[in-house]
Amino acid sequence: MTENFDYSLIDWSRAQFALTAMYHWIFVPLTLGLGFIVAIMESIYLKTGNPDWKRITKFWMTIFGINFAIGVATGIILEFEFGTNWSNYSWFVGDIFGAPLAIEGIMAFFIESTFIAVMFFGWDKVSKKFHLISTWLVAFGASLSALWILVANAWMQMPVGMKFNPDTARNEMDNFWEVLFSPMAVSKFTHTISSSYLLAAIVVIGISSWFLLKKRHLVFAKRSMVVAAVFGLVTSVFTILTGDYSAKVIAKHQPMKFAAFEGLSVGQRGAPLVALGIVSSSPDDPNNENVKDFAFKIEIPNFLSYMAFQDFNAFIPGVKDLMEGNEEHGIMSATEKIVRGRLAIDALAEYKAAKKAGDEVKLAEAQQILDENFKYFGYGYFENNPQGLLPNLPLTFYSFHIMVMLGFWFFVFFALILLLVYKNRISTSRFWLKIAIVNIPLAYIASQSGWITAEMGRQPWVIQDLMPTMAAVSKLDSGAVIVTFVLFALIFTSLLIAELKIMFRQIKNGPKPGGN
């Protein structure tokens, strides 16, 4: 047996999953939000009967369709990659994790795929009302599918509603509602969808601004902008509130991720919030070369404690406390957790042996040790590498701060656009129209940064505390994964280029006359 992990396999498997997820997330947030924006536009069309609104609806529907197809294509890969590349994971938690994926298919995907056909082919085949209902159903269906996949993701970050069964060597669900309504699931879903709606609003405003700058389709552009700005303002408020809630949940359940993205090396009472910072290049602590201080930072005193626990003097553990332990605050050291994790793993082996031998006494003994230590099970895989428990600290810190700053900026921006529209100065404010176009890539950066924070910040865990990436990966030759990675990268990239070229051409052509 080897005495080391196949890191090449693990890293390439992670890279492949990250590649698929990040490409998927280029297309999905836009369709999540645009679905509703289009539905609102079509509702106005039905209410006013004004064919201009039909023209507006159909233009944005085309943009929706172009993005939807590629979102679907990358989505199926993600679903199957759990099996192909993370087969141990699929068994270890399939009893819980599979259910939301199946529900997503049965409840949400069919709504989307059935009614999207009406959206695109049904204009002259079904009544106007039925068409409008279909458009709304597609929007709801898309968000409903987001719900289930985010419930699944939240469960990986905070496993609840289950119990480990040593006979089957897996976790088994014992409370579906706990899985569905865990605070992590609620915060993940609400924050992810509201930020996606926000992104779509930014895109619609950006494209409309381009038309205003070119002095083309002015009525179309202004109307699209008003719908998007109102939608954006509401959803950006919601994004900020749910973001705050998410941080509170993470502070409680994933303290290492929290310390990483807040840049807190050493825990303290009344911890300050680092609003802006540049991580120093030299290690802060000789024993922990990964822990670094700031070369420069702007802090708000005591605010982090308040934000996390509504108490200006609350103690927040830093990276060091979580690694080395802190007796005063009852924090166990990483080394201790590793020992306990190893106990749990060995107890599972003993349980299996006792079961085979029919030794009831040993069986009960092993079961007890396993039960006592199971919550540290995943730590057992780090016996020779406690440093492996640390996420990439600078990356998590920066991606989090980029996301937060952009989130606040978008809120201000929506308010400003609405003000300009209200004062009827939007067409002449060329500076802000240009800013609106620059905002489009920024919205995507913010959205991707959010996922980098969430997923890199929780490393090395596939399932928080229970299973690290090394124990989750399929046993493959890393060469096979490299080949599929390269093929995916090539194909996704060419599809992205095709998508962008088609979209730019559609935008350049503008809405077609007469609503067609």
């Binding site: 172009i66 999207i116 204009w123 085949k125 060597a169």
Partner: protein, 385 residues
């Protein structure tokens, strides 16, 4: 309700659900079959556009059924998901590649400035049609012939080598093509999907040229289908099968196992025979009566036939995913399923399936109420792709 069922009942219930999804998927692969006929049935640009547009209304349904099939299999029999997908890596990856290039091809094919050109997207559609059907069929063939894998849950306790499921050949699933019985099923599915593709296209497109080419193509596809399918079925009925003892779970080879399964579950046999007759009836109606309603007969027949094949693969104490590396590592519905709690919770969700089928049917009717024809293409409302 479901909580009171025994675990075995729930496992059987879920095997039936999986089988229904699989049978719907094979029926809906008329989209894939149709995609391989774009150039054979359509000789002009207009004809090809008609075909792409009529298939394009349905591709998502097939795709969604595949995704749901995957999700439901994961939720109900996770050990299959982890063993087969993580092991037969090349096969599943090839299937995935075949599907990435499908979704966008409809949407991008006729859009201006599409980077790769119309022809490339049509080639993508062809590749998806051919690869997906042959590969999925061949992969399902291994349900009857076995694969080289091992499963040992104790591996989880080996820190540096913890994979539970392992593929025991370096070909990672590709070796399935060395077994002619697997390949025969793959090719049967391929030709069947083309048969269904022709029947769907002549049903939903009003065009005489396409219709008459369809007649000719039907002979080219129905004959090889019958040859491969008959070989597959006859060999299946006479081969040894992977059985297990209900009490101990011990797996052993039983002569004529699949024939026995048919005889011991006469309803399933009846369904199979009805399925075959209906598929043939649909083809005959089209060929000899020039009827365009064949899709409904052959389609229903496909659903019955595939459903019954899946049922004899997993029910009646049969290992549905046999291991030829070590018989005792074979997967059965009993040793690979989710827990009682999860299966019963999911069973409530399965009650939505009839609702889903109802609204799909209703929308299908309202969109396909009248066949499209060349004159429709001038009108942007119908012509999307």
């Amino acid at each position: 309700m479901f909580e009171t069922f025994t675990i075995l009942t729930l496992q059987q219930y879920w095997w039936i659900i999986i089988s229904i999804l699989a049978s719907l998927l094979v029926f809906l692969m008329f989209v894939q079959g149709g995609q391989t006929l774009i150039y054979t049935l359509g000789k002009t640009d207009t004809e090809r556009t008609l075909i792409v547009n009529t298939l394009g209304r349905k591709w998502e349904l097939t795709f969604t059924t595949l995704v749901t099939f995957g999700g439901a299999f994961f939720a109900s029999f996770p050990l299959f998901y982890s063993t087969s997908f993580g092991g037969a890596y090349w096969v599943w990856m090839a299937i995935l590649f075949a599907f990435i290039i499908q979704a966008i091809s409809y949407e991008y094919r006729s859009k201006p400035n599409n980077f790769l050109g119309k022809r490339t997207f049509e080639v993508f559609l062809f590749l998806n049609g051919a690869l997906a059907t042959i590969l999925i069929g061949t992969a399902v063939g291994t349900f009857f012939n076995g694969s080289m894998f091992s499963v040992d849950k104790l591996n989880l306790t080996h820190i540096y080598d913890s994979a539970i499921s392992r593929w025991e050949t370096p070909f990672l699933g590709l070796e399935a093509v060395l077994n002619p019985h697997n390949v025969a099923l793959g090719l049967s599915v391929f030709f069947l999907s083309r048969i269904l593709g022709i029947l769907y296209i002549v049903n939903s497109v009003k065009d005489e040229n396409i219709f008459s080419r369809g007649i000719k193509q039907m002979y080219y596809n129905a004959i090889p289908f019958l040859i491969f399918f008959l070989y597959f079925v006859i060999a299946l009925l006479f081969k040894e099968g992977f059985a297990y003892s209900p009490g101990t779970g011990e797996v052993f080879m039983e002569p004529y196992k699949y024939l026995h399964n048919f005889l011991q579950m006469p309803l399933v046999l009846l369904m199979f025979l009805a399925g075959v007759v209906l598929v043939l009836a649909g083809i005959a109606m089209f060929l000899f009566k020039k009827s365009n309603k064949g899709i409904w007969y052959s389609g229903a027949g496909t659903i019955f036939a595939v459903l019954s094949l899946f049922l004899i693969a997993g029910l009646n104490n049969t290992a549905f995913y046999p291991s030829t590396f070590n018989l005792q590592h074979s997967l059965t519905i009993e040793n690979s399923s989710s827990s009682h709690y999860t299966l019963s919770a999911m069973s409530y969700v399965s009650l939505f399936v009839p609702v889903v089928i109802a609204y799909i049917y209703w929308v299908w009717k309202s969109i396909n109420n009248k066949p499209i024809e060349a004159s429709d293409l001038d009108d942007n409302q119908t012509h999307v792709y």
